[in-house]
Point group: C2
Chain length 213, copies 2
Amino acid sequence: MPPPEAAPAAPERRGPTRGDRRRRAILDAVELLLRDRSIAALSVEDVAEAAGIARSGFYFYFESKYAALSALLAGVWDEMAVAAAPFFAGSDEPPTAYVPRTLAALDDAWTRHEHVLVAMVDATGTDPGARELWELWMRRWSAGIAERIEAERAAGRAPAGAPAPALAGVLLRMNERSCYDASRRGAGRRDRDAMHEALAAVWLAAVWNERSG
Amino acid sequence: MPPPEAAPAAPERRGPTRGDRRRRAILDAVELLLRDRSIAALSVEDVAEAAGIARSGFYFYFESKYAALSALLAGVWDEMAVAAAPFFAGSDEPPTAYVPRTLAALDDAWTRHEHVLVAMVDATGTDPGARELWELWMRRWSAGIAERIEAERAAGRAPAGAPAPALAGVLLRMNERSCYDASRRGAGRRDRDAMHEALAAVWLAAVWNERSG
DNA sequence: AGTGAAGTTGACACGGCGTCGAGTCGAGCG
DNA sequence: CGCTCGACTCGACGCCGTGTCAACTTCACT
C-alpha cells in the first residue's frame, strides 16, 4: 500500500491541468472548512460548494470526505518529519538540549495544521481507511523512535530499561494524544509551554534517566 | 452537570418496572453489538431489534445511540476507580511495587470493558455530548493524579520537576491512548505485558526518578 | 474538423435519523 | 368492576446526506 492518493505515475506534461486545479481546490476547501467545523459536521455538499463544483463532481476526485482528508495529510507528515529530523539524526548535544527543542518544533508543526490533524484523529473513530492510514504512520514513527532509543542505549548514553519498541509506543501515544487534546481545548501559549515542559521531562526521564535543566 | 443519565430522584418503589427492564435491555443490546461492530457501524435500528422493540421506541429511552453509550459508561468508571484506588490512597510500599500493580489492574478493568471504552473514544470524534462526558472524566482523573504527585513531592518521596498538573495530563493521555490502541489492535498477553512494563517504567522515571526493578 | 479522454452534471435510489400522533398497557381509585 | 391517567409502544412520515449513473461538455491533440 504505497502512499495513498499518489497520482498514478504522474504524467507531468505541463503545468497543472484543469483537473489538478480542481483537485487542489477541493483540498483547499476541506482545509478551510475544517477551521470552523468538525469533520463529522462537514458534508460533501459543503465541500463541493466551497470548491465551486457540483456535489457529484466531488466523487470524480475522491471516494469520500475521508479520502480527501487523508490526501490532505500527506504534506503534513512531511513537515512533521522535518521537525523531528534532529531527533532521529542523533546529536552530540546532550538530550536535555535537543529533546525539548525537537518537541517544541513538533508541536509547532502540529499547531500549523491542527485542524487537519484533529479532523484526522476524529476520523479514525469512524472511517476504517482513515484509521489504517493513521496507524501506518504511527507504526513508522514508533519504529523510528525505537531504533533511536536502541542506538542511545548501545552508545551508552541511555541506560537499559523497558523494551524499546513498547517504550517508543507509549511515548508516541503520549505525544499524539497530548497534542490532540491541546488543539481540542484551544490551549494557549502558557498551556502549551507547560505541556512541552512536561513532555520533555517525561522523555528525558524515561529514556535517558535525566532530569531536565 | 451531575452524572448524566442518573434517574431523576429514583422512585425505587418496587422491583424494576417494565420500563426499567426495557432500558436495561437496550443497554445490554448496545454492549453486545459493540463486540463485533464499531459504534459508527451500529444503527439505532440494529439496537432496537436486538432489544426487541421498534426503532422509534428506542428514542423514548435515549436521545441517540451516543447517549445510550454514555449511559453504559457510568458503571465502567466505577470499576476503573476501584482499580486505581491503591494509587490514589498512597502507600507505604515503594512505588516500584504498587505502580506496576495499579497499572496492571487498570488495564485489566479496561480490558473487561474494552468494547464500550473503545466505542466511547471513537464517539468523542463524532458526538459532542460523548466528547464532553469523556473529557469530564479525563479532567477528574488528571486532577487526582496531579494531587497525588504533589503529595509525593511534598513528602519528599518524589523530586521536584515539571508542574504537576501538566505532568499528570500527559501521563494520563499516555495511558488512555495506549490502552485504546492495545484494544484496537487486539493485543495479546505478551503485547500487553510489554506495554505494562513500558508504562510503569515511564511513570516511575517521570514522577519518582526511579528505575523499575 | 474530428476524436477520444478527461471532466461535469442533474436525477435517482437508498439508508439512517428523529418526530409525531394515534394507539395499548396496567396500576390505582371510586 | 370500570374508569382514568401516565407510562410505554408503534407505524408512518419528512428530512438529510450518500454514492452511482448515463448523458453531456470541454479540451488537447491529430
